[in-house]
């Protein structure tokens, strides 16, 4: 147990996952060394095997995954040959895990505190009373509101950002030597993310805990890690000290990751004053049952332009989209299409009105019928809206597939499950285009995709807009995407529009205080960004606290 032994030592680790009775390589011989108190960032696209590797560092594999080669040592203990009992003794006590979705990883049937004290009590580290007191202390250190009381709530009674911090507290409960953070802020809004990042960084420093921080967001990892390891399809691309890596990435892949955020469309000429907008949302109020969600929302979308609607989850972005499509008739106000009032309920709209407004969804996975072939999926709107059949229909589908840059002969008969995430999203685009609409609502279309793939989708959308003079309403919470693609921006908060205008004005001060908060909360590639921001705002004035003060 000398200090020279690294805390984690993985050598030549190969991981395999099973699909259809065969084992496929997920991780192809990766080495990983972690010293005590060190934070290692693990970065790569989804499917690069980051999470699998992170779990393997705990000696744990999910069902259908196995470690086929290599060694995993924790503090000199070989985790691959250790008995189940030995591993259980380490897990939770010396090695802890923080999952991506705290909402799913807390047991809904038990109070937070009961789950918090379970580790220490079961491992015999502390008694229940002592562990509870310690839990409250940790909640306070992590700046959770009402630290004395919050632990006695059920998970569904606590917000996502707070749950994520409570989970970090739970991981800390036995004062482990190592914590694996598996994308702990990916599911959070930018303003909430800062809060969680700051809390995690503080507490890891305070207890000198070593950590493996898994994420696909470079800017986040730049704030958290001492060292960064980049993975691509199961292989290590490069490992370097954070500052070195950011300043001078050596590999092409790493450089391309860095370059993603550089995509930006040229500015379009201003809208001619007095022209009729394609879609105009006028003083719309809406409610789910008796709960009001939108208040007096108004904005215009002009031909051939992209309007980005930004805001945090729950701000009413998607609800506005539902009002425009007629899925949720507004309680007040109206939607105009080309200067004509649309019936509020989609069932009362004509086929042509329906055709003009199409939608692309966030989760291409669930938005495509898994039992229909790509050809059938795209052919349906072609037949329904345009009345094409037989050879004409097939020709149109092929043309659409070419437009989304997929080879028709190769993809026509495939099922959605045989496509990658980015390809599925392209099919979603083709399906919307099949109706030959004027106006397309893109609801967080890139947020489930990796940065490189997302960029491809954004470029495709931009090209289609130029070719077909489409109008987009682009719903997103990612300000980098807004910067890349939009012409106008609408900022929403709590069901209201707080600011709207051309993109350039939006990204130039002065702006509305909330827009400012959103903008300044987007992590930047500078490793000192979080430190500086906290110094500027003060630790008690970040995230939800700052939002609440408005």
């Amino acid at each position: 147990m000398s200090d020279e032994t690294p805390l984690v030592k993985m050598r030549g680790v190969k991981l395999e996952g099973r699909s259809d009775e065969t084992w496929n390589l997920i991780i192809n011989g990766v080495d990983l060394t972690l010293a005590r108190g060190e934070v290692l960032g693990l970065i790569g696209e989804s499917g690069a095997g980051k999470s699998t590797l992170g779990l393997a560092a705990m000696g744990y594999t999910r069902d259908g995954v196995r470690i086929s080669e290599g060694t995993v040592e924790f503090d000199g203990i070989d985790l691959l040959t250790a008995s189940a009992a030995t591993k259980r003794e380490l897990l939770g006590k010396r090695i802890a895990y923080v999952a991506q979705s705290a909402a799913a990883s807390f047991n809904p049937a038990h109070k937070l505190m009961d789950q918090h004290v379970e580790g220490p009590v079961q491992h015999g580290v502390m008694g229940r009373g002592e562990s509870e007191a310690d839990g409250i202390e940790l909640y306070r250190k992590l700046r959770l509101p009402n630290p004395e009381e919050i632990g006695f709530r059920y998970p569904h009674q606590v917000s996502g950002g707070q749950l994520q911090r409570a989970m970090t507290a739970m991981a800390m409960s036995c004062r482990p030597d190592l914590i694996i953070f598996d994308e702990p802020t990916t599911a959070l809004d930018v303003t909430t993310q800062i809060e969680v990042l700051a809390s995690i960084r503080d507490i890891v420093e305070q207890f000198n805990t070593a950590a493996i921080y898994i994420t696909h967001d470079l800017a986040v990892v730049a704030q958290m890690a001492d060292r960064i390891k980049v993975l691509l399809k199961g292989d290590e691309v490069e490992t370097a000290d954070t500052r070195t890596m950011l300043a001078a990435p050596t590999q092409d892949y790493t450089k391309s990751l860095w370059a993603v955020r550089s995509f930006e469309r040229p500015r379009k000429p201003d809208v001619i004053t007095g022209s009729t907008p394609v879609v105009s949302v006028q003083n719309v109020d809406a409610a789910y049952g008796k709960v009001p969600v939108l208040y007096d929302v108004s904005f215009d979308m002009h031909a051939g332009r992209t309007v980005a609607v930004v805001g945090e989850s729950g701000s009413g972005k998607s609800t506005t989209a539902r009002c425009i499509t007629g899925l949720l008739p507004p309680t007040a106000g109206q939607i105009m299409l080309d200067g004509e009032v649309l019936p509020p309920d989609y069932r009362k709209r004509s086929k042509d009105q329906l055709r003009q407004v199409q939608m692309i969804y966030q989760m291409a996975d669930t938005a495509l019928n898994p039992r229909m072939s790509i050809g059938q999926i795209i052919a349906r709107p072609v037949q329904f809206y345009l009345g094409l059949t037989g050879g004409a229909k097939r020709k149109r589908v092929d043309a659409l597939l070419e437009q989304i840059e997929l080879e028709p002969t190769e993809y026509y008969n495939r099922l959605p499950s045989e496509l990658s995430g980015g390809q599925k999203q392209r099919i979603g685009i083709a399906r919307a285009l099949a109706a030959e609409p004027k106006f397309i609502i893109c609801d967080e279309v890139t947020s489930a995709l990796d940065q490189l793939v997302a960029e491809g989708i954004l470029r495709l959308l931009a090209k289609l807009q130029d070719d077909l003079s489409l109008t987009y309403m682009f719903i997103t919470h990612d300000l980098a995407t807004v910067k890349a693609i939009s012409d106008e921006v609408v900022v929403m908060k709590d069901g209201r529009v707080v600011e709207q205008g051309p993109k350039d004005d939006m990204f130039k001060p002065p702006h509305h205080a909330y827009t400012d908060l959103l903008l300044s909360s987007v992590p930047e590639m500078d490793p000192d960004w979080l430190t500086n921001l906290l110094a500027e705002r003060g630790v008690d004035n970040i995230g939800d606290a700052a939002v609440d003060k408005m």
């Binding site: 939770g92 047991n107 059920y154």
Partner: protein, 330 residues
């Protein structure tokens, strides 16, 4: 909590409404039975006059709607009517033992049935749940397979067959329990229990498979959830992961299957009653159908329906209560 109370009240009202509809169905169905009590009792020598006279005495000459509302009104007042057979018997012998009402006929039999159902439930429910938990814990092992084979073979065998096997092994070859369950009023509890043991064990074999397999399936269904992975990564023992983390979230389907099986124990045990000569409500029901003793048949049906509705209602409410989101709203 107000939320939950509203739901419970809604369910209760719905239950009452269901029972009302069921009462119409019962009444119609029973009246569709071929022949009636008067023809049945008079047999071959029935003269039209005699039949008419008995029908008049029993009110069978009234139109069905009138009879339905008379019956329903009686039921609402707690009067299930008079047993045709007992009334007839009393008028022949000139004695009125006071046991001519349907209630007096059914009450002791129903108490016996409830007793057997409770004894069975007390054995079968914990047994099945523990077996289900163990099968989930040792899933895909020899134990799991053996448990599945055992419970599935017992549910697939006819009840009388199971009953005779148990009699053979537990009453004839090893005289542990009596093979006749002729319990009567005033019997001591311990003796009652002893006499009910074989029918209770037979019924346990019949209902275990369903409950055990649902427990196993509901738990295994949850094992891929992130919070189960989290529990494992906290270094908890496999038993604790299942009992403390999976089971509380699997309760709703398990409770529903238990309720269905308990309802079966109250309503569907005629065969077992016959084999063990157990004086339960099932035998009374079958006998009454045979002689067209309509008030008794109707009352039994109504009790069976009420048992089903009440047990499912309880299951619904317990399932709701097992969900912390409803128990503790934001």
């Amino acid at each position: 909590m107000g939320n939950v109370l509203t739901i419970i009240l809604q369910r209760l009202l719905l239950g009452v409404l269901t029972l009302l509809i069921v009462s119409v169905v019962i009444f119609t169905a029973v009246n569709l039975l071929p022949g009636d009590f008067a023809q049945n009792i008079l047999g071959q020598g029935a003269t039209p006059d005699a039949v008419a006279s008995i029908r008049r005495d029993l009110g069978l000459d009234q139109p069905p709607i009138t009879r339905y509302f008379d019956w329903l009104g009686g039921v609402l007042r707690g009067d299930l009517g008079t047993s045709f057979a007992q009334a007839n018997f009393a008028s022949f012998t000139g004695t009125d033992s006071g046991a001519t009402t349907v209630a007096a006929q059914i009450a002791p039999r129903f108490a016996n049935t409830m007793f057997l159902a409770m004894v069975t439930a007390a054995i079968a429910v914990p047994f099945s749940i523990i077996l289900g938990i163990l099968a989930a814990l040792y899933r895909n092992t020899v134990f799991d397979r053996a448990t599945n084979i055992f419970t599935l073979s017992s549910i697939s065998s006819p009840e009388f067959f199971l009953a005779y096997i148990l009699i053979l092994f537990l009453a004839v070859l090893n005289p542990i329990f009596p093979s006749l369950s002729n319990i009567f009023e005033g019997m001591a509890f311990s003796e009652r229990l002893e006499k009910s043991m074989l029918p209770a064990l037979t019924l346990t074999l019949v209902v275990t498979a369903h409950m055990m397999r649902m427990t196993r399936a509901a738990i295994i269904n949850l094992l891929a959830s992130p919070y189960i992975e989290m529990a494992r990564l906290k270094g908890l023992s496999p038993m604790r992961v299942i009992v403390k983390h999976a089971l509380p979230n699997a309760l709703a389907p398990i409770i529903n299957v238990i309720a269905l099986n308990l309802a079966y124990l109250i309503t569907g045990v005629v065969v077992v009653e016959v084999v063990f000569v157990y004086p339960g409500i099932g035998q009374l029901f079958v006998d009454s159908v045979k002689i067209r003793d309509i008030p008794v048949v109707q009352a039994c049906c109504l009790i069976f329906a009420a048992a089903y509705i009440l047990l499912n209602l309880t299951a619904d409410i317990l399932s709701i209560l097992s969900n912390p989101r409803l128990r503790h709203p934001k």
